[in-house]
Assembly symmetry: C2
Homo-oligomer: 244 residues x 2
Amino acid sequence: MRNIKLIIEFDGSNFCGWQRQPKGRTVQKTIETAIFKATGENILINGSSRTDAGVHAREMVANFFTNSTIPGDKFREALNTRLPEDVSIIKSEEVDDEFHARYSSKGKTYSYTIVNRYERLSLGHQYLYHCKYNLDVDAMKEACKYFIGIHDFKAFMSPGSSIKTTVRNVMQLYIEQKGNNIKIFITADGFLYNMVRIIVGTLIKVGNGKLKPEDIKSIIAEGNRKRAGMCVPPNGLILEKVFY
Amino acid sequence: MRNIKLIIEFDGSNFCGWQRQPKGRTVQKTIETAIFKATGENILINGSSRTDAGVHAREMVANFFTNSTIPGDKFREALNTRLPEDVSIIKSEEVDDEFHARYSSKGKTYSYTIVNRYERLSLGHQYLYHCKYNLDVDAMKEACKYFIGIHDFKAFMSPGSSIKTTVRNVMQLYIEQKGNNIKIFITADGFLYNMVRIIVGTLIKVGNGKLKPEDIKSIIAEGNRKRAGMCVPPNGLILEKVFY
């Protein structure tokens, strides 16, 4: 059997997330259906991340094993012609048997975009989080540096997943501001459940003046979920890239 | 009766356009329903433009006459709390009785965004037009200047509307490029039916090398719809601003 790697872009607005589930439209199941149509094979694919409902991806990675004779690079078109508009295969290729989209991953980058304005937001609301109260972006930028490094991030995790350790390495966390758009980029070796959305919620709490930038240090040290910020909505979140 | 002016942002993805119609969800009807809920009045509102299904607006303008005692600037919140997520009132104010969103307008700016890349597009597909073939943006920029000025734009109009004249004044037409995003801005005193989308289609024909930039001159002079480009899909189009 051959191992095929896919790079996938999707608009998560009308999906119940990545992972296959008994009810509801998921990205995984949608791609598996396209593979079935192209190859006649009933295959389970491995995704690099189990993104939640409403979360988007610019470069999600998945792999699967196939007996089909379709050349690796031709899977892109073979699947795209069988996929709905909100999921696209950006690249397909044959890879080593060892490659696993999830376990081989060395890290991921997510972005989260906030629109900071008083007026209500409609245009692009599926991709943006609207924050009505004026945020101190300089304070938020200052707070970013306290997250960087190897820390126990248990204060920034929602319950509901069983994991061995809550220690993660945040390699990068920075903010790009353009007008009233505040775009946060975060790269880590891995993420706890809702970790990006809770870190963003905590940065917003700093931007609101409810936390000082240096408070991040003690929140991490205490592992205190209650002092960290809210879990912001999924729609501002994009999986930008997976590293191998 | 008092005359109220609204500035409206909407995501056109799930609307059958602006104008009220017997069947289908429209922006006009949605706002009129919110006004009814807020004031108890059954009112018809005047929109500055009759945008098609799938077209978006950052600043659509409308006005209506009311007997309600709600202060002009309070209509914003009064309506927003009664509007779905994809329509927002950005500003409301009381204006002179003479003001009419459509007839008082001195001009409008639209933008149209193309993503020029080989790979299929899913992320943001409701707001972007995907062009697979490599476009010569310099040639497109060169072509822009031939549209500017007072011309008979009948070559850039779809049939279906009765109008007195097909002469319009294009005050501005320019392109901003950022990576594979090509964003076209056009300002005119008024637009013929589908005029922006056909001008964009014609610029794409120039970008594809099927027309030379200077061909625009003779297409305008001949009024030849067949030599102009296709009418590109609505989803890349945003009504940016209306001038008074």
